[in-house]
Amino acid sequence: MAEFLTQYIPAWLAYSAAALVHIVLLINLIAVGALFFIWLERKVAGRIQDRLGPTRVGGKFGWLQTLADGLKLITKEDLMPEGADEFLFKIAPYVSFCASFAALMALPFSDSDMPFVAQHLNVGVFFIIAVLGLEVFGVILAGYSSASKWSLFGAMREAAQVVSYEVPLGMCAVVPVLIAGSMDLVYIGDCQAGPVWNWFIFHDPFTFLVFWVYFTCATASVNRAPFDLAEAESELVAGFHTEYSGLRWSFFFMAEYGSMLAVSLLASILFLGGWHGPIPVANWLGLTFDNRPLLGYLGNVLGCVNILAKGVIGVTVMMWVRWTLPRLRIDQVITTCLKYCVPIAAVCFLGATWWQFMWPNGLLLETPVAVYELRENWPEAPAANPPATVAANLQRGAI
């Protein structure tokens, strides 16, 4: 978008405007998403527990319940415990929120000709996994600076859990990278163009298994039940955010729902086809860039709606699991990670490598041939540049 705008306005203004549009859209996604997910959580919880959820505010379905809750939170008194480290106490929710937001910056929402992505990174998968691991800092700072032992216990448990689960999460995320041949998320999404059997989850049985392990590790990594001992309401009062109230608390929750959405979207790009639907509707309707730019743009919007729907389904499954399964103890959490997730992820990684070696073009249906032509072009051997010798460099004063 920035290059498009530079034709009309000076460069610095174009880049700032493009950045502002991206930020506004993503913050809206997190905020509206949090609003929607809190309502959805209460409805899902209610239905699983054989009762209706909120039904009074905003008509029969309680649409505006979250808005009412938000208003209540904004008007609460801003408390800080007496022994708290002021600076760290105030900055902790923002660190969590920034980590969650930065992960969404590198996620693409649509197709390759004009991808809807705030920052098109070549190392997209790597960057997102790195940044999601930074959310633990906000939690640790919150737990430490609250000057309360419940908070500190909750924070330490959560930090141990998130850091342990980063290992199998990384191993699971590497399998689609292996199949696609690139860490670029736009490219990985495009490898899954076409009908549903092109999705990586159906590529080989190891990848199918890896998807479920990834989902488990992702749930653990964002501290959702059954791995939610950090906020174990019945044990630790409220864990690391015991002492937070009002708007500071709501930042932690926006960060949590933002992270849930980010890992769901990442799962849908890596395994479930991303913005390419189960049925290639956009291609059938002719909404591609081969026809006209406007139609291509509409096709991209359709893809964006598609990927958001998949993300919401992922988050709904997480909520469903939360209200169904009992909470795990910390030793059970670490056992699950080290004795189950890591070995299964490692074996599936080897299996997927072996499968890719045996049948590089896919077994069920042909992977689009373009996959293997889009590899980066290696430069020719630099015959023109003679290797610089030490003597020549000394003479030029370059060393």
Partner: protein
């Protein structure tokens, strides 16, 4: 010659020209010196460990700067060698931090204090 170098130093704040290797080297030098000061003056063992991390990062900046094709003309750069060395430094620093932390925890468990000035059993 020294006057020229001083003028060169103040000329570096030009915002219209791309930065060069020397800018990165200066930042790396600041990080290195801060790390060395940390190692020399802190009494908390973990403070010393933080100094070590700063020193390694200063060195990493140097490697990256010498290996970057955007800061020097192409024939002179280390190319990917700089980045690969930097990668290995990062990995080794992580490994060394793990062992150093294990030692520090052992020390704390034995002496109930993390103050390195109290580690004087071999003194005299």
């Amino acid at each position: 010659m020294n006057v020229l170098i001083l003028a060169n130093l103040f000329d570096r704040f030009d915002l219209t020209q791309p930065v060069g290797v020397s800018h990165y080297l200066i930042v790396g030098a600041v990080l290195f010196v801060c790390g060395a000061l940390c190692m020399a003056t802190k009494r908390n063992a973990l403070g010393i460990l933080m100094g070590i991390e700063l020193v390694l990062n200063g060195a990493n900046l140097n490697f990256i700067a010498f290996g970057s094709p955007y800061l020097r003309s192409d024939a002179n750069t280390l190319g990917l060698d700089g980045q690969l060395m930097s990668l290995f430094v990062i990995v080794l620093a992580a490994a060394e931090a793990a062992v150093a932390l294990a030692i520090a925890l052992n020390f704390y468990n034995s002496f109930s204090t993390i103050d390195v000035d109290r580690a004087d059993q071999l003194q005299g």
